[in-house]
């Protein structure tokens, strides 16, 4: 690992001024669970590390019916996993965390760090996108809010300027008759999914017609991949086995997955089909129960 200068601001304001002074030469660290691995392999060699783990004002999880869920960037994965309100209102989010890496990583790694890393294999971005979450960013010019979906630009590239800080993940309240699920194909429990899927389904309780569907796949493209054409197949219809199969098939054709030591392109396409089908079915089931 190459040497670097280390900054440890205690407030968001202080962090922003440090970042401004470093003029693009500062790299934010917030837990470092993914970043340190890259640094050890010299794939990432920052001159300056701005470690924001000490900014306690950003460590919170809040919920209100009106505002929905507010997760401070510094919340650890463990905090999200164990949060009573997350378990009650967004159980799929807590389930996702249970399968995220190992307990040591979850105890130290943060939601802010994870969503800003921009790894297309990461789980939290996929579930935030299906939940229609927004990220609150602050910079020298003040605040801006972006859709989680629009945040991801390319492999390890996100819409965050060098002098900006992601402060909060904002998840809207879920409407009734909505179900959310997340699953991934793991070689070891807790590892990066060979393919993963997050799905949200809302149905009309009296007709059973699907009113909304959001499907995001992980590790099949350079960013979390929303399969809108699969969603379209489902919306406005009563979802049945045939539609699920069709949605899966469309997804498998639309993606451009990598081929690597964990799975060939062909296998990933096939698994995208299986997981779109499976996870959508699970979300649908939950939607039917969430009256």
């Amino acid at each position: 690992m190459k040497d670097f200068s280390y900054f440890a601001p205690k407030t968001a304001t202080e962090a922003l001024s440090v970042l401004a002074k470093l003029k693009g030469e500062g790299k934010i660290m917030c837990g470092g669970q993914s970043m340190l691995v890259l640094m050890k392999q010299n794939m990432l060699t920052p001159e300056n590390i701005v470690d924001i783990k000490g900014i306690s004002e950003l460590d919170y999880i809040k919920y209100s019916e009106k505002e929905g869920l507010r997760i401070g960037a510094l919340s650890t994965h463990s905090a999200v996993e164990k949060s009573a309100v997350v378990k009650e209102k967004y159980p799929a989010l807590a389930e996702m965390e249970d399968n995220l890496a190992v307990v040591q990583t979850r105890n130290w790694g943060t939601i802010g760090g994870n969503v800003c890393h921009g790894d297309p294999a990461a789980d939290p971005p996929s579930i935030f996108i299906v939940l229609n979450a927004k990220y609150k960013l602050v910079g020298p010019e003040g605040e801006r809010v972006v859709n989680a979906e629009d945040f991801y630009k390319d492999y390890l590239e996100v819409d965050l300027a060098h002098d900006e800080l992601l402060c909060e993940v904002q998840v809207p309240s879920l409407s009734a008759n909505t179900g959310v699920a997340h699953e991934k194909l793991m070689a070891q429990k807790g590892d990066m999914g060979i393919v993963g899927a997050a799905v949200l389904v809302t149905i009309n309780p009296s007709t059973g017609v699907c009113q909304d569907a959001r499907i995001v796949l992980t590790n099949v493209a350079s960013t979390p991949f929303r399969v809108k054409s699969s969603e379209k197949v489902l919306i406005g219809k009563v979802i049945d086995e045939k539609l699920l199969e069709e949605a899966g098939k469309i997804a498998s054709e639309e993606i451009d997955p990598p081929s690597d030591v964990h799975g060939s392109e062909e296998y990933r396409r096939d698994m995208a089909r299986v997981f779109v089908k499976r996870v959508t079915a699970k979300a649908l089931d939950r939607a039917k129960q969430n009256k």
């Binding site: 691995v37 190992v102 194909l185 070689a187 070891q188 429990k189 807790g190 590892d191 990066m192 030591v261 964990h262 799975g263 060939s264 296998y267 096939d270 698994m271 299986v274 499976r278």
Partner: protein
């Protein structure tokens, strides 16, 4: 035997508190005054000419004390089983892990930086990465001087008449199987510190599992370097896992020695995790053709196997694994007609080495998968064919193994009962059961001229005991087992025993922690030493008590008369009386135990082990037909261990072996592309973690081996021997596809299911 108080108890490992609190001193923690840090530059290519090495810039870097290349290795020194491996390469590199240059510097960071400054010019050569290609006529030679890529190691075993037996067989099954490279994944990476004194005697701080043999290797190296008649002392730090990886000496150790010689300072080389993946030697990958037959009643008639092993670019002890593969090939189940030929072939891949099981898992995968195929052809339940052919006490096998204790049938039955074999088999509902058995050496293995281990016991004035043993503690628990055996004999507490096992200047000779031999050999050695010192104690106590030594015994640190319990004297008092009297003496005993086993003769016959370990594993799986994923629902591992000296540690060996075997079966593999490792890290190399552990039941079958210490046999390796075929057989029972190429990844299962669907 029922009166045992220490042997047979579930006693936690003595070194457990050290390890769980982080107080254990591993090679990683060791520092010696004045120590320098060594780093190694490896090849960029798997096969290339080295045109030029420029070390000028590296030498000028502040803090660098020495830079070495192949030109600095004296007298063309080479190491390894066939002495074909120079510690630093000149002229040509033959594999991507080839060592090109090395640096010693005042810090690891500076040494690392210096490596970047070494400029090497290569001319890349086409490589051979498939042993079958390497065997083709006209294939380029990896080592030109040997005239062939096939190693001149004559692995051939013939017993009976296979051709005749084929004619007489009612059913024959034949197929091909292959296995992959896997690595040991020791949590403690390899490393050493080489230090010379003023007279050029060498001290190696090391995590070797073969101190006495390594000592020999280093002495030979020193001799070649021009340092004759020197002493080598090996001090072992706490060892963070061996599994066979530390059963040989490696280039990095000779490089540390050369750097220490050049700088006149101690030099430490410790592998990073990445180096541990690519620069240590994995389990051999194999390509196997097998054919087995049986008569109309299911009795095995013959077994014929042909094997090609990818040796990689250099030869280590790993090239001798066919000798251990012969154990199951000749002697797993009763089968009289055997033919086995194995070829080890040079390629430009990484070279392989010993790993837990030493070839047995590869051979057993083919034998036990094929046995299920044969059972199907013969229309016999796989459980029944195993019961019909199971080994029994008193048998003499085609390799002249004399089977003493043998609990194979009990193990098979335990597995069948606990798995509900009859209830669960043949349902074809995506769930299935499978089993496989094992034989392994269980009473040492005479690989070298001596298979012995020495023990010295000395007692102090307070009744405390030092047991100085040749055996190595590599995490398997030998320290605790030896303490239990000695404590049992001497009637004292485990905590009164201090085991010294890490310094060749102090400890007697031992062949090493291999072949599942430590409990058996070091245990017998310690048992003999304890009995000798007990005789001395009773003799002097008898004088004090005015009793006959035969009527005395020791319990809870007190010597007492078995006739009159009132007549007793504390052990410590006896010892002091002996010591502090005119013409006093100290109580010390030594014992060397070399088991009465035999080296193979030139036809590979001989009773390799004093006794043989048996076992059977059974597994219930569920296959996800959409993803190809295999889930283990239940795992039964029954082992004939002779006697469990410590059931807790023994179960640990079974769980650990089983899980390593599950990794081997279902996911672990080193993926090489043109000789370069593509997944040399724990993110991409899928070793099962604590979260992946399925329900495992360890079943201990005791058969009281007469030659073993308190009846015990070895259990170090057996736990992973039958795992892969048991799982492969269960998958076949569940969904009707047989995977013959390890590991059984979901993708392979899914493809096989799709193929089957096309045919159906």
């Amino acid at each position: 035997m029922s009166s045992l108080t220490k042997v047979g108890q579930r006693i936690p490992k003595k070194d457990a508190p050290l390890k769980v609190t982080g107080a254990a001193i591993y090679i990683q923690d060791m520092k010696v005054p004045g120590m320098l840090y060594g780093k190694i530059l490896y090849s960029k290519y798997a096969h290339a000419k080295i045109l030029k090495i420029d070390t000028g810039k590296a030498e000028k870097l502040a803090g660098v004390r020495a830079v070495l290349t192949g030109a600095d290795v004296p007298n063309n020194f080479k190491f390894g089983f066939l002495k074909d491996n120079p510690p630093l390469k000149t002229g040509k590199v033959l594999s991507a892990r080839d060592e090109i240059a090395a640096v010693a510097a005042i810090s690891a960071e500076i040494a690392e930086e210096a490596l970047d400054l070494i400029e090497v010019e290569y001319e890349e050569l086409p490589g051979i990465f498939d042993p079958l290609d390497a065997m083709k006529e006209g294939a380029p030679l990896i080592h030109e001087e040997f005239k062939s890529n096939v190693l001149k190691l004559p692995w051939k075993l013939v017993a009976g008449d296979v051709e005749e037996a084929k004619k007489a067989s009612a059913y024959i099954a034949e197929d091909s199987f292959s296995t992959q490279w896997v690595t040991h994944c020791c949590l403690g990476t390899s490393g050493c510190i080489a230090a010379f004194d003023m007279n050029n005697n060498l001290t190696m701080y090391s995590n070797t599992q073969i101190p006495s043999l390594a000592q020999n290797d280093y002495l030979e190296a020193l001799k070649t370097f021009g340092l004759k008649n020197k002493r080598v002392r090996i001090i072992q730090c706490v060892i963070g896992g061996g599994f066979g990886s530390k059963l040989d000496t490696y280039a990095y150790e000779y490089i540390a020695i050369l750097l220490a010689l050049k700088t006149r300072k101690p030099v430490k080389i410790v592998f990073s995790r990445e180096e541990e993946f690519f620069a240590t030697s994995p389990r051999q990958c194999t390509i196997t053709k097998i054919s087995q037959g049986c008569d109309k009643d299911g009795r095995l008639t013959f077994r014929e196997m042909e094997m090609v092993l990818d040796n990689g670019a250099y030869v280590s002890w790993g090239a001798t694994t066919p000798s251990v593969m012969m154990v199951p090939i000749s002697s797993l189940y009763k089968v009289q007609n055997i033919k086995y030929v194995a070829k080890c072939v040079y390629t430009n891949n990484t070279y392989s080495q010993a790993m837990r099981g030493y070839g047995n898992p590869q051979a057993t995968f083919a034998i036990e998968s094929c046995l299920d195929q044969l059972a199907e052809k013969a229309g016999i339940d796989p459980l029944e064919i195993r019961r019909i052919n199971a080994n029994e006490p008193g048998e003499i096998t085609p390799q002249n193994f004399r089977i003493t204790s043998c609990g194979m049938k009990e193990c098979i039955d335990e597995v069948a009962n606990r798995l509900d074999w009859k209830g669960k088999r043949g349902k074809h509902n995506n769930r299935g059961v499978g089993m496989a058995s094992l034989i392994h050496v269980g009473g040492a293995a005479r690989v070298y001229k001596s298979d012995g281990c020495g023990t010295i016991i000395k007692m102090d004035d307070n009744g405390k005991v030092d047991v100085i043993t040749g055996s190595s503690e590599i995490g398997q628990g030998s320290e605790t087992i030896i303490s239990q055996i000695v404590a049992e004999v001497l009637g004292i507490n485990i905590d009164d025993i201090n085991v010294i096992n890490n310094d060749t200047d102090v400890c007697p000779w031992d062949v090493g922690a291999h072949a599942s031999r430590t409990t058996f050999v070091a245990g017998n050695s310690a048992l003999g030493a304890a009995r000798k010192i007990k005789a001395q104690i009773l003799e002097v106590a008898a004088k004090n008590l005015g009793e006959d030594p035969q009527s005395l015994d020791i319990k809870d640190g007190v010597v007492f008369s078995t006739k009159d319990k009132e007549k007793n004297i504390p052990l410590s008092k006896v010892l002091r009386k002996v010591h502090y009297s005119l013409g006093g003496r100290m109580l010390v005993a030594e014992n060397f135990y070399d088991p009465p086993n035999e080296n193979f003769d030139q036809n590979f016959r001989g009773n390799l082990s004093v006794s043989y370990a048996y076992g059977a594993h059974g597994v219930e799986v569920e296959v996800d037909k959409d993803t190809g994923q295999v889930k283990i629902l239940n795992y039964i591992a029954a082992h004939d261990v002779g006697k469990a000296i410590n059931p807790m540690l023994l179960e640990g060996q079974i769980y650990g072996g089983g899980l390593q075997g599950i990794g081997y079966a279902l996911g672990e593999r080193m993926i090489f592309e043109k000789g370069v490792l593509k997944n040399g890290n724990f993110l991409d190399y899928k070793m099962p973690t604590a979260k992946d552990v399925p329900p495992v039941q360890a079943v201990i079958v005791e058969t009281d081996e007469q030659a073993g210490p308190f009846g015990a046999k070895g259990i170090g390796e057996p736990g992973l021997v039958p795992t892969a075929p048991a799982i492969a057989n269960a998958i076949y029972d569940a969904v009707g596809v047989r995977i013959k190429d390890l590991p059984i990844t979901p993708e392979k299962v899914l493809r096989a299911l799709q193929e089957k669907g096309k045919i159906a």
